[in-house]
């Protein structure tokens, strides 16, 4: 059973925890800055296809980061394609209908739109666990899919295109557009990863972890499991919407399939592969998926899902805590 130490650390000794979290917080900021510098260097020398692949990995990884946020509380959403699609459509609509083209603004608009639409469901979903949570999120994403398919305002089943965004008032030159969008996406990814780590280690983040072990105990100690779950759901929606907007800007196109259940399945795949211990692992896992996807779909178009399936089974069987558990240990 669970470690009894996890909650008292959070509740009874809040002050020293805050000090430690403060110190650790700066370390996380430093790590994020370091990671961003490293990625910038990598993006500057990488060929175009690799930059694009890393952009997709970072954008999709953000959605899976949201799933990990929920997984820490013991629930797995099977409909995260919903917020991914909402973020993407919001960015595309802002661009096409309102003429708002700033990449950073569009990304934030995607995240905020996803939060606005998902938040009303948060109090409801916070009551659900296990398979029912998975199924209700799945149902909501499929309702979104059905709506997007049929509404002409959103381009129906074809979706629509989105032109080249600008950045802080500047037009992006032809030869640099991929690299700059990569920088924006990677920037959001490292910021969100660092914030996620700080949140996970905070008192509220630890309450989530304690709820995973034993909900009743958390309630008796004065924590609110439902509040923690609802907040996690909203945070996950923001990550998902942000990821959706960034991916759509890189792709230049959006369609209802963003909200289809197989898309959601891929995000869960990455989250399971990563495990809930490490935020870095989420982006490593997302990159693994993108690499496998792009190589196999060009060389083995009919067997890449087969490879993914076997890989997933092996991870669940032999590395149940994900690849993150290889290098990260939760602090007791």
């Amino acid at each position: 059973m669970g470690t009894p130490s996890s909650l008292p650390v959070a509740a009874a000794t809040a002050a020293p925890t805050r000090d430690r979290a403060g110190g650790a917080g700066w370390r996380h900021v430093a790590a994020a800055v370091g990671a961003f510098v490293l990625l910038t260097g990598l993006g500057a020398v990488a060929p175009k296809w690799l930059t694009f692949l890393m952009t997709m990995a970072a954008g999709n990884g953000l959605v899976s980061l949201g799933i990990v946020c929920l997984m820490r509380g013991g629930v797995v959403p099977f409909g995260q394609g919903m917020v991914f699609a909402i973020g993407g459509y919001a960015a595309a609509l802002f661009y096409n209908r309102l003429g708002f083209t700033d990449a950073i603004g569009l990304a934030l608009a995607g995240g905020v739109a996803a939060v606005l639409i998902a938040a009303p469901f948060a109090p409801l979903l916070s009551r659900y666990r296990g398979i029912f949570f998975a199924m209700l999120t799945l149902a909501l994403s499929m309702v979104t899919y059905g709506l997007l398919m049929k509404l002409d305002t959103f381009g129906g089943s074809d979706g629509f295109n989105l032109g080249r965004p600008t950045l802080l008032g500047m037009k992006l030159p032809d030869d640099k557009v991929g690299f700059i969008l990569f920088l924006v996406t990677a920037g959001f990814a490292v910021v969100m990863a660092a914030l996620a780590r700080i949140y996970f280690d905070s008192t509220r983040g630890l309450v989530t972890l304690a709820a995973r072990e034993n909900e009743l105990r958390v309630e008796y100690l004065g924590g609110s499991v439902r509040q923690a779950m609802a907040i996690n759901f909203v945070l996950a929606a923001f990550c998902g919407g942000l990821g959706g907007a960034l991916v759509v800007m890189a792709l230049g196109h959006i369609e209802p399939n963003f909200s289809f259940w197989t898309t959601s399945g891929e995000f869960v795949f990455v989250a399971i592969l990563a495990g809930w211990h490490s935020v870095v692992a989420v982006f490593v896992a997302s990159t693994v998926l993108e690499v496998v996807r792009s190589f196999s779909s060009s060389y083995f178009p009919n067997t890449w899902q087969l490879a993914l399936g076997i890989f997933l089974l092996l991870v669940i069987r032999f590395l149940p805590k994900g690849i993150g558990s290889l290098w990260h240990r939760e602090r007791k």
Binding site: M135, L140, K150, V268, L306, G309, I316
Partner: protein
């Protein structure tokens, strides 16, 4: 009036194959506690196997009426060969793990099977048209329906009654119910639980494959068949209550009629009417419409 009859009959035929498939899903969940995403893949496998079996039957110069037998044999072959293999070689290693993790195991299986179909049957569509004409046409008033659709309704009724009868009126069924109630206690009473698991999983898969085999004449069998089926059958079992036969029947009727109503009256709502019903049921009665409410165990 004419529209009402059309909605009713279309809804009923849609509900029939959906019931056959969802019954398998709910049975597997009831006994093995696995919500099987790959159930849609077994449905597709049934359809592919039926396509192959029916064409072999034609090559062997069987009379057209025997194409129905060929379809039955196809479903049976899937249940006898593939189902026990899947259970023994894969699922048994994951029993007792978290329900959501088991969903992911079957998601992996779904991914694997999608590609295996492409490797074995290629990506071109298959057509199994012979059985569709076997039952002639039936006329009601000014409209005509294909007799095959009604044969499907009859098949669904027979299958539903058979499963109910086996579970409630035979020893094997009582043993299965005991395992559903508590595998541990059943095991201590001398029940070979793993045999019950294999049998229940095989029957569940047989129903998926049977649904697939008998749908094959109405569709083109090609990659992507499994993707559409699985979420609709999830909707059915969630609406009726996971693990309940009566629930699957009512759920299939609700989904079938809702879809048929949407198709004829408000085509815009066709796709998501089913999912809206599913979401609403989950919101207000997450245990399904026909299950008794249970206190949540923490």
């Amino acid at each position: 009036m004419q529209t009402a009859v059309t909605i009713l009959i279309d809804g009923l035929t849609y509900a029939s194959w959906l019931f056959i498939v969802a019954l398998g899903l709910t049975l597997v969940f009831g006994v093995l506690k696995i919500l099987n995403i790959a159930h849609g893949s077994f449905y597709a496998l049934g359809a592919y196997a039926a396509a192959s079996f029916v064409s072999w039957a034609a090559a062997l110069k069987w009379a057209p009426a025997f194409s129905i037998v060929a379809m039955m044999l196809a479903a049976l072959a899937v249940a006898v060969v593939v189902a026990p293999l899947t259970e023994r070689a894969l699922l048994r290693f994951f029993y007792g793990r978290d329900e959501v993790l088991l969903v992911l195991v079957t998601y992996a299986l779904f991914l694997i099977m999608e590609d295996l179909f492409k490797l074995v049957w290629g990506t071109n569509p298959y057509y199994v048209s012979e059985p569709y004409a076997l039952f002639g046409n039936v006329s009601f008033g000014r409209q005509t329906w294909v007799g095959y659709d009604f044969a499907l309704v009859a098949l669904a009724v027979v299958v539903g009654l058979a499963v109910w009868w086996v579970l409630n009126r035979t020893k094997a069924g009582k043993v299965t119910l005991a395992v559903i109630h508590s595998a541990e206690v059943a095991s201590s009473m001398g029940v070979d639980v793993s045999r019950v698991y294999i049998a229940a999983f095989s029957v569940g898969i047989f129903l998926a494959a049977l649904g697939g085999a008998f749908t094959a004449p109405m569709i083109s069998v090609q990659p992507g068949v499994s993707v559409g089926v699985i979420i609709v059958s999830f909707a059915v079992v969630i609406i009726g209550g996971l693990g309940s036969i009566q629930g699957a029947a009512v759920g299939a009727l609700i989904v079938g009629l809702a879809r048929s109503f949407a198709v004829h009256v408000a085509p815009v709502a066709e796709l998501f009417s089913i999912y809206v019903v599913m979401a609403v049921v989950l919101m207000f009665r997450p245990e399904g419409l026909f299950q008794r409410t249970q206190a949540r165990r923490i």
